[in-house]
Structures are given as structure tokens and as C-alpha cells.
């Protein structure tokens, strides 16, 4: 996975924490952006709340390149919104600082989806569970876990969004993606099959949320 460029160097502590927890590779950008080499960047996050002038210069430099670096997410303070008016071409999206980690993650995900960049990591790991998205391998406590295609897709989807509660309908449309005979009961049946395969020790990784649907593991953001 290509790294993100992050300005300034060092980036604010909460930003570093968010990126690390979300599994993004990143590199700090110290200068004015003119000396960035190579094209293998997943995008950039520029903090404009501390040193706006430096930040605008970096944005311009990243945009002016032969192959512009995108997507570019701007972090701005609420008092700076007016400054954005004439600079729309410099960024793809912005996020107000102080930011909520989940908002930042969601915006990054959405941006890379919109710009067609694949920033999805190759592996999903959660506690004892490891899923390799490249080879379709699944392992539990280091032992191979044999899943059918739909079980694998369902588990990957759930494990990529720990702590998030999904309704049966959402799971059907996101995982199956097409009209399926059993409708919502299909989801229940597959969840049960997954729990059976996870075994007694790990079946609790998938939680039933009464009258709502299912969730996997715990959110990285605790109760949020």
C-alpha cells in the first residue's frame, strides 16, 4: 500500500494516532512540497490550522506536479472557513480540526474511493483472526480457517469495520450485492455458519445486536 504524505513534520499527535490505528502508511512532509519525488503516493493530508501560509504553498506544490498528488484532504480550524473560498482547486475535501478520528477515516476512505485509488490494505487482522484479501486465505490463531466464498466475503466485510453495527439489509446489499432467495434470513444462516467455524472460543467475535443486526469485535474507538 502506498503511503500518504502528511504535512507538517512532525504531524499533530492525534493525526498520527488516527492514521496508525487505521492502518495507513504515511510519511511526514517537511519542506514546501516542491521537493516531493516519485508518484507512488496514496494522497496527502495537509494541516492548515497551525501555519496556513505554509500549508497553501504545499497544496499548490502538490497540485502543480506533472502527476498531481490526490486525493488531498485539508485540516482546517473552524475560523478558517472563509479562507477556503478562493482555494477550492487546492484540495479534494476538508475536515474541521479538532477532528473526530472516525470522521477523518471515513473521509479518507470516501476520497480514495472517489478518486479510484485503492488504499484498502491487503490484510485484515483482528485479534486471533487474519484475512488475506490478496490470496483469500483466512487464519484463526495461526491455523487455516476454511470458509466458503460467501462466508469469507461476509467475515471480511465485518472484520474490516470492527465495532460497527450492520443491519441484515445492509449486509445483504453490501456483501451479497444482489437479490438472494432467503433475504435477511440468509444473513442469519451465514452468521451461524461462521460462528460454528470460528468455534466456541472465538464465536463471540461476531455479536448479535438485538433487533438491529450484527457487529464484529470492538470498535477501535471504544464506545464511540
Amino acid at each position: 500500500m502506498d503511503p500518504l504524505l502528511v504535512y507538517p513534520d512532525p504531524p499533530p499527535r492525534e493525526l498520527v494516532q488516527t492514521l496508525d490505528l487505521a492502518g495507513y502508511a504515511w510519511e511526514p512532509l517537511g519542506g514546501d512540497g516542491s521537493d516531493v519525488v516519485g508518484d507512488s503516493w496514496a494522497g496527502a493530508i495537509v494541516c492548515a490550522n497551525e501555519d496556513p501560509e505554509g500549508a497553501w504553498a504545499v497544496c499548490r506544490a502538490l497540485r502543480k506536479r506533472e502527476v498531481p498528488i490526490e486525493p488531498l484532504l485539508l485540516l482546517v480550524a473552524g475560523t478558517q472557513l472563509d479562507e477556503l473560498d478562493l482555494r477550492n482547486e487546492l484540495f479534494d475535501d476538508f475536515c474541521l480540526a479538532p477532528f473526530h478520528p472516525r470522521e477523518l477515516e471515513a473521509r479518507m476512505r470516501h476520497l480514495s474511493w472517489r478518486t479510484g485509488q485503492e488504499t484498502r490494505p491487503d490484510t485484515v487482522e483482528y485479534g486471533p483472526l487474519a484475512l488475506n484479501l490478496e490470496t483469500y486465505q483466512a487464519a484463526l490463531d495461526g491455523e487455516p480457517l476454511d470458509l466458503t466464498y460467501m462466508e469469507y466475503e461476509l467475515l471480511t466485510f465485518l472484520a474490516s469495520n470492527p465495532g460497527k453495527v450492520f443491519s441484515r439489509d445492509t449486509l445483504l446489499s453490501r456483501v451479497w450485492g444482489y437479490e438472494y432467495y432467503g433475504g435477511a434470513r440468509t444473513v442469519d444462516v451465514h452468521i451461524r455458519r461462521l460462528r460454528a467455524k470460528l468455534g466456541e472460543k472465538h464465536s463471540g467475535l461476531i455479536n448479535t445486536v438485538r433487533s438491529v443486526g450484527y457487529s464484529f469485535g470492538q470498535s477501535r474507538w471504544g464506545g464511540l
Binding site: 490470496t135 483469500y136 466458503t148 466464498y149 432467495y181 432467503g182 434470513r185 440468509t186 460462528r195 460454528a196
Partner: protein, 450 residues
């Protein structure tokens, strides 16, 4: 090939490679419900997935037709599972197949296609069909038919004793089933010596029929591995309970959200659709019994004095009734269901589920009225009391069941002409052989007396 099937196929091929699978077993089922398997090497798999695997169907029960004996096995990629028993360094996997004609049309002798067709029909009417069977079977010391079966223990219902050696076999079996994605609801020692029950959690009928096939093999494999023998023969021992396959049935709408049998405003929590479905099962029960209970031996289980149904009746909690409506908590709408108690575990699950579904749907389509619940124990009523209450007996022999089936347009439509005719012909021959056989019972009773 749709994009989705392509991805499923890629997944299977990738998995075979990564897991080092040495053999892929292509499974399918003959008309009598015996599991058949063709093993292929991973190198042949891609072609089998794309084009199907040609096999000679003439040696397979119910497949043979003189003009065209070749059939195509088309593996269903969603059913790919590695087999958890055996040498972990020699991994083998299985896939269930749909059987097609050489031109790629569904083969009418394939029970899996029969069930698919009936589920499609239910879907057109706005329903999806969910089933949960309770599988009963016996463990014996060996499978030698020339001597009386030797139970592994003398335990009875829910027994948990150190004597219960079979408990260990059952536990290992449960682990294997779960590893293959077959969740189990309960498992316990049944009433008779060495008899066990494993209840499978509900799922759609096609997956469940596949699961029943996998289940029967798994139970046998693990028993064999531990030096014992497992049998699904319906009545292996006289004088004790036989093995049934009570099947819980429910219909959901096609969104899967709403249980079509559930109506909290009624006394039983059962909707009109639910009542009509039961009525359909009751009206057509005699016609479908040859399919749900297909052996001469099946009818030795369906006798008075054991917890097996002998009369066509329904009740809430009376275990002698043919259809039971389990009491469920009113707020748990998903668990409203009915239990059909005739089938035994030696049936062909694809055909048995098809017939139960078709009988119930007929009740809905024709708006059958459900008669009153039988409150008394029907076993204890006299023949005339039963007649007055309009309670018919279930067929009491394979012969009677075949006669009821012969005249049934419902069963003919459900199974299709090919299977319907072949089944009747094959089972008539079984009955003729049985009738001509002089049994030990007769020798014991008559040889010296006459």
C-alpha cells in the same frame, strides 16, 4: 458466467491452490438419496467449474436412460468445503453438484434440481422455505447384517454417564460438522440404547438437504474412525424407539424479514397461511409418505406405542400427532414453525423437503381449512372414535404408501415424471422382494407349530 460466479470460481481455485488440496470430490445424490462421489485432481477443477464434468449416468440409481446415459456434473462453488477428517497433509475438499444433460439443461433425474425447481416455485409465490431436521441414529459395534446389532451402551434419554462411550464419538462428530459450517442446535442421547440425536439449526432447504447428506457421511466416517458403526436405518431394533427425522418447517417472505406462519393475534400465534400449510400437509400426507419413509423398514417405526405418528392429525404439544405446532414465545416471531414428524433419516432429503413444501403450498393455494386440533392422544382412541373425529391412518406399509403415491398428481408434479415413475418402479420391486422373503419371525412362529 456472471461476475459473481466468476469471483466464486476464482475463490475456489485460489483456495485449492493455497490449501494444497490434493483431491476434490464432486458430490451428487441418486434418486434413493445415496451420496455419490467423483474425485478429480485440482488440475481438472477449473474445467469442471466452467463446463461441468461428464460422467456415465447409466450405473447410477434413477439416472439410467437408454438413449442418453451421459450427464454433466456442475459443481456449485458456494458448497466448496475442505473435509476436516483424514490426513491434514493430504487435504481433500468437496463440492455439491447440479446434474445437467449433455446440452446443459437441468437433468430431470437429479434430486437437487427437483428441490431447486420446487423452491423456485415457492419463490414465485413469494416464499422462502426454511427447514431444521432432528437427526436420529444408532451406534453399533459393527455393521455386520448377519448377526443382531450390538448397541455401544445401554443409556437412555439424556443419559450422561461414563458408560456412554458413544458420547465421545458424538462430540468429535459435532466438531467436524461445525468445521464444515453445519451449526448444531442440540445433541443428546436418545431414548433407546445407543441411539443419538443431533438437531441441525434451521437454514434454507437446499443448503439443508446438502447438510443432511454431509451429516450422514460425517456421522458414519467418525464412527468408523473410532471402530464403531453408525446407521440411519429407521428401526434397527425391535421393541425400542426407531430413528426419525422430525422436520421443523417455516415459510418466510422473500425479504426474509417476515415469518409467514406468524400471527401474534391468534391463540397459537399461527397465521392463516400457517394453518393452510398444515392442512395441505395433512391432506396430502398419505401421498408423500412413500417419499418421506421410503424403506420397508420405515413402517416398522411408524407403529403405535412409540413416539412416532401413525395417524393424520395435528396438535400443539402431543407427540403422537403427525404435525406438531411447537409453542413459541409470542415476541419471537422468527421461531414460529411447524414440525412434521413422519420422515425418517433414511429418506432422500431433496425429495422429502420438496414433497413437504409442495403439500403445504397446495394447502395455501387452494385455501384448505384446517380441522380442529386433536386434543386426545390419538393412540388411545378406538377405531370408531378416530373415524368419528375424521382421523385417517398414515400408510402402514411401503405397499400402502406406494398405492397412495401412485394416484397423486401432487407428487408426480413435485418430483417430475422421470423420478416419479422410476421411484415407484424401484420401490415396487423392493416390496415384491420383501413379500417373497421368509423371515426369522415366521420360522420361529410357524415351523414347529404347523
Amino acid at each position: 458466467m456472471t461476475r459473481e460466479t466468476k469471483r466464486e470460481t476464482d475463490y475456489v481455485l485460489r483456495k485449492v491452490e493455497e490449501r494444497g488440496v490434493r483431491l476434490v470430490r464432486l458430490w451428487f445424490t441418486d434418486v434413493l438419496g445415496q451420496l455419490k462421489s467423483v474425485a478429480i485432481s485440482p488440475a481438472e477443477l477449473e474445467n469442471a467449474l466452467e463446463e461441468g464434468m461428464q460422467v456415465d449416468g447409466s450405473a447410477i440409481d434413477g439416472f439410467s436412460r437408454i438413449q442418453e446415459s451421459d450427464v454433466l456434473l456442475k459443481p456449485d462453488p458456494e458448497t466448496f468445503e475442505t473435509l476436516p477428517w483424514g490426513d491434514p497433509n493430504e487435504v481433500s475438499a468437496r463440492m455439491f453438484c447440479d446434474v445437467l444433460t449433455p446440452t446443459g439443461n437441468p437433468f430431470e433425474g437429479d434430486p437437487r434440481q427437483v428441490l431447486r425447481r420446487n423452491l423456485d416455485r415457492a419463490h414465485d409465490l413469494g416464499y422462502s422455505f426454511l427447514v431444521a431436521p432432528e437427526m436420529e441414529y444408532f451406534y453399533f459395534a459393527n455393521g455386520d447384517p448377519t448377526s443382531p446389532p450390538q448397541p455401544l451402551d445401554s443409556g437412555s434419554y439424556f443419559d450422561l454417564t461414563t458408560l456412554d462411550v458413544a458420547d465421545d464419538i458424538r462430540k468429535r462428530t459435532l466438531g467436524m460438522l461445525e468445521a464444515m459450517g453445519i451449526p448444531v442446535e442440540y445433541s443428546f442421547h436418545e431414548d433407546a440404547p445407543s441411539q443419538h440425536e443431533i438437531d441441525l439449526r434451521y437454514t434454507d432447504a437446499l443448503t439443508m438437504a446438502d447438510n443432511v447428506m454431509t451429516f450422514r457421511l460425517t456421522v458414519r466416517e467418525i464412527a468408523y474412525e473410532r471402530g464403531a458403526y453408525a446407521t440411519f436405518m429407521p428401526k434397527p431394533l425391535s421393541g425400542v424407539q426407531g430413528s426419525g427425522m422430525h422436520t421443523h418447517l417455516s415459510l418466510f417472505d422473500t425479504t426474509g424479514e417476515n415469518n409467514a406462519f406468524h400471527d401474534p393475534s391468534t391463540e397459537l400465534g399461527l397465521s392463516t397461511v400457517g394453518r393452510q400449510f398444515i392442512a395441505g400437509l395433512l391432506v396430502h400426507a398419505p401421498e408423500i409418505t412413500a417419499v418421506t419413509n421410503q424403506l420397508v423398514n420405515s413402517y416398522k417405526r411408524l407403529i403405535v406405542g412409540y413416539e412416532a405418528p401413525t395417524y393424520v392429525s395435528w396438535a400443539r404439544n402431543n407427540r403422537s400427532a403427525l404435525v406438531r405446532v411447537p409453542i413459541t414465545k409470542p415476541e419471537k416471531s422468527t421461531s414460529t414453525r411447524i414440525e412434521y414428524r413422519a420422515p425418517d433419516p433414511a429418506c432422500n432429503p431433496y425429495l422429502a423437503f420438496s414433497c413437504m413444501l409442495a403439500a403445504g403450498l397446495k394447502g395455501i393455494e387452494e385455501g384448505y381449512e384446517l380441522g380442529p386440533e386433536s386434543s386426545n392422544n390419538v393412540f388411545e382412541m378406538s377405531d370408531s372414535e378416530r373415524r368419528d373425529a375424521g382421523i385417517e391412518p398414515l400408510p402402514q406399509s411401503l405397499d400402502a404408501a406406494l398405492r397412495a403415491m401412485e394416484g397423486s398428481s401432487l407428487v408426480a408434479e413435485t418430483l417430475g415424471e422421470h423420478i416419479f415413475e422410476w421411484f415407484l418402479r424401484n420401490k415396487r420391486a423392493e416390496w415384491r422382494d420383501y413379500k417373497a422373503h421368509v423371515s426369522q419371525f415366521e420360522l420361529d412362529r410357524y415351523l414347529q407349530a404347523w
